[in-house]
């Protein structure tokens, strides 16, 4: 479904990613782990079109999407839940969801999808008229996911959805992601919560210093000592 073939990304003169390749299959659940500054966000921003790539290519459903405008990439069904949620803070919960369904196709299905979201996240329904900036961290993250889902994604990419959340809330969110994957949604998850994300995902990649160092089934990675080393430098 999504194929990243040997891409390199630089900021100014600095190379943030070097020759990175990875694959997300249809109905896959891939966890991308790695320490801070390893280049995880750079990678999914490159997929979304927010970062330009220097070398390589990104292919989504047989279409080359590298270096296309972000709004066009989104219209193909590659939707990102950005790091730090990036909600529209002055807008209500419902308005955020409305913007999520901005593209023509999802817009047609707006009311049906809205109902679904409120089923999935009942707490958002309670707070539908509240400003998103006034929500708690967990609710904000749920809203960010719901906003992305409103766009009817084929591939959902999440950048650090557990950042700054209490463990129990993280657990709740990850459970929902697992459910979504079971209904057929492909997911690419970037997270600091190594254990939990490897627990729920099918496959995993370890990104270190701008390159993929390790990949395989999540269950294998869970026990791999190199993962712990990469995090704690032991």
């Amino acid at each position: 479904m999504l194929e990243i073939k040997g891409i390199s990304v630089s900021y100014q003169q600095h190379r943030a990613l070097t020759d990175v390749s990875m694959v997300v299959e249809k109905n896959d659940f891939v966890a991308l782990i790695g320490s801070n500054g390893a280049g995880k966000s750079t990678l999914i921003n490159a997929v979304s079109g927010l970062n330009k790539i220097d070398l390589g290519s990104i292919v989504f459903e047989e279409k080359i999407i590298s270096n296309l405008a972000p709004d066009y990439v989104s219209s193909l069904g590659v939707i990102q839940v950005p790091e730090g949620r990036k909600l529209f803070p002055q807008m209500t919960v419902e308005e955020n969801l409305e913007i999520g369904a901005y593209l023509p196709e999802p817009r047609k299905m707006y009311s049906r999808n809205l109902g679904k979201m409120f089923e999935l996240f009942p707490r958002l329904k309670e707070r539908r008229r509240q400003r998103s900036g006034s929500l708690s961290g967990g609710e904000q993250q749920m809203l960010a996911i719901a906003r992305a889902l409103m766009a009817q994604p084929k591939l959902l990419m999440l950048d650090e959805p557990s950042l700054g959340l209490a463990p129990i809330v993280t657990l709740e969110i990850f459970k929902i992601l697992q459910e979504l994957n079971q209904t057929g949604l492909s997911i690419l998850l970037v997270s600091q919560e190594v254990l939990q994300s490897l627990n729920i995902s099918k496959r995993g990649y370890l990104l270190e210093n701008g390159g993929i160092n390790l990949s395989g089934n999540s269950s294998d990675l869970l026990t791999d000592p190199r993962v712990k080393e990469s995090y704690l430098g032991l």
């Binding site: 709004d71 989104s74 529209f88 901005y102």
Partner: protein, 291 residues
């Protein structure tokens, strides 16, 4: 001091201020959300006023009706200008400075085009209602300011409703609250910017018409109007539509009240002095920022 004079000064202050507000909202929008200070904002308003004047003189078209043509026209001009020029400086290091110089150039060009087309004579809108008046008790409500006031209420409400209720308006707000995230939702930033700029310019048209109802105008009048713009936008908070609208009224009330209490020659001085104080004390404006 007697209360009738004070209240009458207040009334006309409110009406006058509301017209400043109408002229100011678009200016505030482009400044706040696009970081573009459009020094030519008032010039576009003046252009609409001259357009309306010609329509009135040559074809007897009411100035308000001419807005039906000039507002969309200005919207198009705004969009085109965005694509032709503004977009080139949005990536500059100091967008605000560059935008001021760029639009300063535009203002000079427009002013002198108007000078060529309409000449330097001062103009007034004179219609069947310009000298009419409504009298309620001891108070007088002149038609032109009342119309300006109503226009302002309608204009600001429409803009507010557009931003709050329509899909496109929400997209505009979204784009400025979180440019990256809005792109991830499929919003085309360039298109939205062009629309925002076009919209701002077309509200300038309405504002210019309002100013034309209150004051006589000449090709260089926009320089004076621009000062009012800075005044209301700074007081109201940059980027804040309702704040700007309220600020217009506040500036009007301050002017009105100072006319009731002070020797007239100190009125303008007081207004600018007060603005300086507001800037020092609350540089973010009097109202909470909201887009």
């Amino acid at each position: 001091m007697n209360s009738t004079l004070i209240i009458q000064s207040l009334i006309s202050g409110v009406m006058m201020g509301s017209v400043y507000a109408l002229l100011g909202v678009g200016f505030s929008l482009t400044w706040g959300v696009m970081k573009v200070i459009n020094v030519a904002h008032a010039t576009f308003g003046l252009l609409a006023a001259f357009f309306a004047y010609t329509a009135l003189q040559a074809y007897g078209v009411d100035p308000l009706i001419s807005l039906v043509v000039s507002a969309p026209l200005l919207f198009l001009i705004g969009c085109t200008l965005y694509h032709l020029l503004i977009v080139r400086i949005t990536s500059a290091k100091a967008v605000i400075v560059s935008s001021m110089i760029l639009t300063f150039g535009i203002a000079i060009i427009l002013e002198n085009l108007m000078l060529l087309l309409w000449g330097a004579d001062p103009r007034l809108f004179t219609t069947s209602y310009t000298s009419k008046v409504i009298i309620i008790g001891p108070f007088y409500f002149q038609y032109p300011p009342v119309i300006g006031f109503l226009m302002s209420i309608v204009g600001v409400t429409l803009l507010h409703l557009f931003l709050k209720k329509t899909y496109l308006g929400k997209a505009v707000r979204a784009a400025w609250q979180q440019p990256d995230a809005s792109q991830l939702c499929g919003i085309n930033l360039k298109r939205i910017s062009a629309i925002t700029f076009g919209l701002a310019v077309s509200t300038a048209g309405a504002g210019g018409l309002g100013m034309g109802l209150l004051y006589s105008f000449e090709p260089h009048s926009h320089n004076l109007w621009l000062i009012h713009l800075f005044l209301v936008v700074i007081v109201g908070g940059v980027g804040n539509v309702l704040g700007t609208a309220l600020a217009g009224v506040i500036v009007g009330v301050i002017t009105g009240l100072s006319m009731a209490f002070l020797p007239y020659q100190w009125v303008n001085l007081l207004t600018f002095g007060l603005l300086m104080v507001i800037l020092v004390v609350r540089p973010q404006g009097l109202f909470q920022s909201e887009i």
